[in-house]
Symmetry: C2
Subunit: 148 residues, 2 copies
Amino acid sequence: MAFSRKQGDPKITGMSEQDILAAIRFDGAGLVPAIAQQHDTGEVLMLAWMNREAVAETLATHRVCYFSRSRNTLWRKGETSGQVQHLKELRVDCDGDTLLLLVDQEGVACHTGRRNCFFRAMRNAELVEIAAPLVSPDALYGEGHSHG
Amino acid sequence: MAFSRKQGDPKITGMSEQDILAAIRFDGAGLVPAIAQQHDTGEVLMLAWMNREAVAETLATHRVCYFSRSRNTLWRKGETSGQVQHLKELRVDCDGDTLLLLVDQEGVACHTGRRNCFFRAMRNAELVEIAAPLVSPDALYGEGHSHG
């Protein structure tokens, strides 16, 4: 997957972009998993995927942009729901095949209306819900939407 | 990829196993990404992959077992290095395609000898190392090994 460089965008500097992109090992589909963690509390919010363009845009704008595998397009987190993620720091793991995004999450990260996506836990040999929605998905997306 | 059930293993109960495995959406290769987080500090330690057998074994033994994509076999974390991960809780995300493992990490999680794998960060438009090894990889694996 070729990186579609936005010529003339002043916020994307050659140095940071090349530096980070060279360190990332994108998979065969051109993607890398990215963990979003609330920067001050340590709460793990979600995992999603990024392609080169999503990484570059996120570094340029400091608003987290993923790549939606189901919609096959860039997914600017919060563009529909308003629940945006502000990037505080981007980290790369030892093998370069996973990103950790330290973010400041506005509102809720999960499309179900919960603060984070990991609200089902194995307890006493059963999978149970450990968090309730803070907001209705309909309020986030209107009826008929499921993500954003 | 068929789940190779171990008949007669008393620690794997049908209930928990079926419950959790039914909730997980393994990818085309039979794998799911698993985030390991230190249960008490919130530190994100690493991301690795699990297949059905790794999930079942981890739930049965409470010692984290991954699936090594490079070696194409089960990877019992710490089996070579002694840096094992004790499972405190396993969580499943909203879509069932990511796991969050709350663990108690013995020693260091990263094969480089660092506490966690995310020791490179973008700061001032450069990728910099923000943590030093706590132990030599040679001390963990002996010379000639790279993981475990």
